[in-house]
Symmetry: C2
Subunit: 277 residues, 2 copies
Amino acid sequence: MTRWRIDLAYDGTDFAGWAAQPGQRTVQGVLEEWLGRLLGAAETLPKLTVAGRTDAGVHAQGQVAHLDVPEGARLPPKEVARRLGQVLPSDIVVKAVSEAPVGFDARFAAIWRRYSYRIWDAVSRPDPLLRRTVTQFPEPLDIDAMNQAAMQLLGLRDFAAFCKHREGATTIRELRVFSIVRADDACRTIEATLVADAFCHSMVRSLLGAVTQVGFGRRDLDWICQVRDATSRASSVPVLPPHGLTLAEVGYPSDADLTARVGAARNVRTLNCCEEA
Amino acid sequence: MTRWRIDLAYDGTDFAGWAAQPGQRTVQGVLEEWLGRLLGAAETLPKLTVAGRTDAGVHAQGQVAHLDVPEGARLPPKEVARRLGQVLPSDIVVKAVSEAPVGFDARFAAIWRRYSYRIWDAVSRPDPLLRRTVTQFPEPLDIDAMNQAAMQLLGLRDFAAFCKHREGATTIRELRVFSIVRADDACRTIEATLVADAFCHSMVRSLLGAVTQVGFGRRDLDWICQVRDATSRASSVPVLPPHGLTLAEVGYPSDADLTARVGAARNVRTLNCCEEA
């Protein structure tokens, strides 16, 4: 078998998320079906492994997946990329298909994930050209207060308060960047950037839910710290809607360090039963 | 009668343009229908006058229209704006409805229009989140060459080569800005900005069609100058697709200068039979 790396982007609006589900239009489902047709494996669909399993409605600009194909596949990866460009619907774009370096694993070799979340904080609706990627709140947010709250959440921590609980899965993550800027004061667009080694399910949208509570002046920094230190899902933290969220980029180590990284990630997984890298 | 100014934005993808047409979904048609219902004038629909009559598929971020309503309309303009926000489809946003200053005319008082046009010049398809607003060309464009070509087209000229001919309508316009930048080299997005007192039908898309020919290296500056000086529509100039085009902003004089401006614009119109301000 040879491993291929697939770089792709999608508009999540009309997908029931990444993960294949019977009877649902999913990114994985659409991609695996077309890969199966192109690679002549329609009966046993190729199986994709992905860096970030995005929820329904979440977008991706820099998603990465991998696929194991039999040696001597009937089409080289570049040709598969070209043909996918002809057949895929307009809301998925495969940017590249390439032979992966030794030890590459889209999920376990990833060392960081970057997400962005966009908010429009005005009574009038957002620009209609932004409506698929921006969450609207009809009251103004205090960006400085949001950034102060975000700073309390940085570091290697148990993010149990911000994660959907999953039996046996750890919620320890390292949040390295959480910053919020007003992209353009006149047009009321706010953009949050988050980088972590990995995020657990609904974590980005819960973190945003918490700091927006501070941005609206409904909660203070003491509350953020209390929530942060909780050991289970905090019901006081709202989960923001999915359509404001985009998986922007996934980081991998240099080719030489790949094998060591995958070993480390798999060990963590075994030790902590981490289900969602 | 009182005149109201309406500031609005729309995603042109699913509209057959601005202008009302029987049996077609148009921006004017949808807006006039809802204004009629809100103002209690469903039988005689209110009539909107607009700054830029955009074609099918063209977007607007800063469109301006006006409407004459009987004195003592049953709702104040702010309330009409609020209610429109509740009932309009998600691809039209009315940003504001306000009482217009004396002498205001959305079309004839406008002193400039600014348009932007977005291009993606790579073989791989553009980011799916941009696909409604970006025109793709699968070969690279030379931005410096495009800007040199654009400079030849600036000034007060007869743009006959770039306009759909209309009996009795002048094609003299003043093109004040025509500049092209690569917004982000990595992601291959090019943005052109054009400002003129007014544009005739298909003019922006024809100007872009001409400078992209130079950007691809198929034509040179001599050709641009020959085309520029032609006195009728140049068949060698391609008209680029509508979905890359957005009406960004419309400029008006200060309130004190409005009446004088409308008089001047109407005079030009009579002298030159200009149909498309």
